[in-house]
Symmetry: C2
Subunit: 333 residues, 2 copies
DNA sequence: GTGAAAGCGCTAACAA
DNA sequence: TTGTTAGCGCTTTCAC
């Protein structure tokens, strides 16, 4: 049972194919009566326009592609939510692809190219900058969470360096001096800026001698190893973790070692994921304005669609959300 | 700057378009040397096949669409992960659409139709059964988490009724008798089966007189209200919540009321989301085999692609994961 | 208001 | 092993 085409609808309505096309797209051309006939015929037949044919003829797709690199990270949900809300009535479809790992990431980008997406939003891409640039030349592209320098694309990052300093400053204000860092992965968009922010903040506060960096990765395993390493030499009174997962991993490991949070060790995480916000967890964390990032991405795409060609880059400022995992040093001892 | 077409590649390689098409798709036809020339030409030009044209000519898309209705639910990540892992080397693309709310859900389904997806996986769809059926007639379709009766589609559900009974039985075994239920939403695929499971289990255990149902929705607000309602009359010693979010909401509310878990009230959640597994949370919960569900969905799609036409339905059995939010009544008192 | 005709870039017979 | 020829279903001039 072939699916109905424009011609079928035209035949049934007794008009030409052109007219049906125009009418179904809401363009002028048909009389009110004819319009009704056409719409009726289309609905009788269960006509659904063929995107491939349409895109081919139009040479564009009215779709924008969003690439995620980790479905488990609640970060994305909010970003995509923000994006979606702004794009809702613009007539664009959003299609998401999951690119976990370099290979899949590339395959998703190829799909976007192949489908002639009009826009792309890449959240935390890990592919080479060259590849990002070449995507940017093919379609409006917004990169979130990675500072790429090409101006073929727009970039939204939050200031991890500043966020890290916020974390250290917060701990400092609570009286902590022996503040260690649990490092993230050294991939693009990974924990580098956060580590640098930690180091710079420590220096600025005159705490060079307390700088200690352990771990090196975003998993629970990395967190536990990092904690072990730190505790082996001297237990710090506070920890700044590269993200919430690491922070929670550290909490768990500390608790296995008989140490409490914040009683023995204060901890600050990063990303303010929903899990940090759980009252049972109560993790002090650095918040990135996720929904806002998504909305901004939508705006940037629309600007590009409207003709902007120069690169636009945005550094959003994170803020600290204080919860129960940090306390003053007095309380601590 | 037009993007290169098959003809451009052919011209550059000095061969016919057909040959390029065949070669680039890995089919026989060209000599080894010619093949090299062609591949080189394509790569020089940065040729990317046009999906629209290809799909139009092929009358199919090599893509399968996955619809999520709530990006925040970690359930999806695992299901999609399972799906992806099975489909990885099959040459199919996976494109996801987020359909939060009926309207968006429909728009996602239209997109799938319009793109002539070969397969669709709908996770927790809320649209009418008619609409699902009509999608099923157009492409291989797997519905996850909702029992639809049409046999135009395959269905995977987990046995919520049994899962709920598991929860109640667990609490019963711990000595609890006054076990209340925090209800979920009464939407398709919502909390209905869980509620019925609760009621049936209570009856079967001779606890009719203790049956109490409060709340009615999947948000923290619903949870808090439900707790208030229950506590106002008589505080139950145990709670079975429609999902983890509700369970956590209840925990928080109880704690605001000065009641501890499991000290004063034991709680069982549902879905075993990652947040339940956090050691700081330690929520006893009912686990659905998520990855397995995703893998099964992939298998079902492949069977359909291979020619199966009769409906296949699967009821997967959930299991209880015991953590720290439940304890024996003795301890409780 | 309405229709005819020419592609969009590709695949798939069919010839050569 | 290679090339020719028709479409796929739609949009878009351009003419009526």
């Amino acid at each position: 049972m072939r699916r109905p085409t424009l011609d079928d609808v035209a035949e049934r309505a007794g008009v030409s194919r052109t007219l049906v096309s125009l009418t179904l797209r809401g363009l002028a051309g048909a009389s009110e009566e004819t319009t009704r006939t056409i719409v009726q015929a289309a609905s009788d037949l269960g006509y659904v326009p063929d995107a491939a044919a349409r895109n081919l003829a139009r040479k564009s797709s009215q779709s924008i592609g969003v690439m995620l690199n980790d479905m488990h990270n609640p970060f994305f949900a909010d970003v995509v939510g923000g994006l979606q809300s702004r794009l809702l009535d613009s007539g664009y479809h959003i299609l998401m692809g999951v690119g976990e790992g370099l290979r899949l990431e590339r395959s998703v980008l190829d799909t976007f190219l192949s489908y002639r997406m009009e826009g792309a939003v890449l959240i935390g891409p890990e592919v080479r900058e060259r590849e990002i640039e070449s995507l940017g030349r093919a379609m409006a592209t917004v990169i979130i969470g990675r500072r790429v320098r090409t101006d073929a694309v727009d970039v939204i990052v939050s200031d991890d360096h500043k966020g890290a300093m916020l974390a250290v400053q917060h701990l400092f204000d609570l009286g902590h001096r022996d503040i260690a860092h649990l490092d993230g992965a050294s991939i693009p968009g990974g924990g580098n800026a956060r580590r640098r922010g930690y180091v710079d903040a420590m220096r600025r506060l005159g705490l060079e001698q307390h700088i200690r960096i352990a771990g090196g990765g975003f998993t629970l395993r990395h967190a536990a190893d990092g904690v072990d390493e730190l505790v082996r030499t001297q237990r710090p009174t506070a920890l700044f973790a590269a993200n919430d997962r690491v922070a929670l991993g550290a909490m768990e490991r500390l608790s296995e070692l008989g140490l409490s949070t914040p009683g023995d060790v204060s901890i600050v995480g990063y990303d303010n994921t929903s899990i940090a916000a759980q009252r049972r967890v109560g993790l002090t964390s650095i918040d990135q304005p996720r929904v806002e990032i998504g909305e901004l991405a939508a705006t940037l795409l629309q600007e590009r669609f409207a003709g902007r060609t120069d690169a636009s880059r945005h550094v959003l400022t994170p803020k600290l959300v204080e919860r129960d995992s940090t306390s003053t040093l007095e309380t601590t001892r």
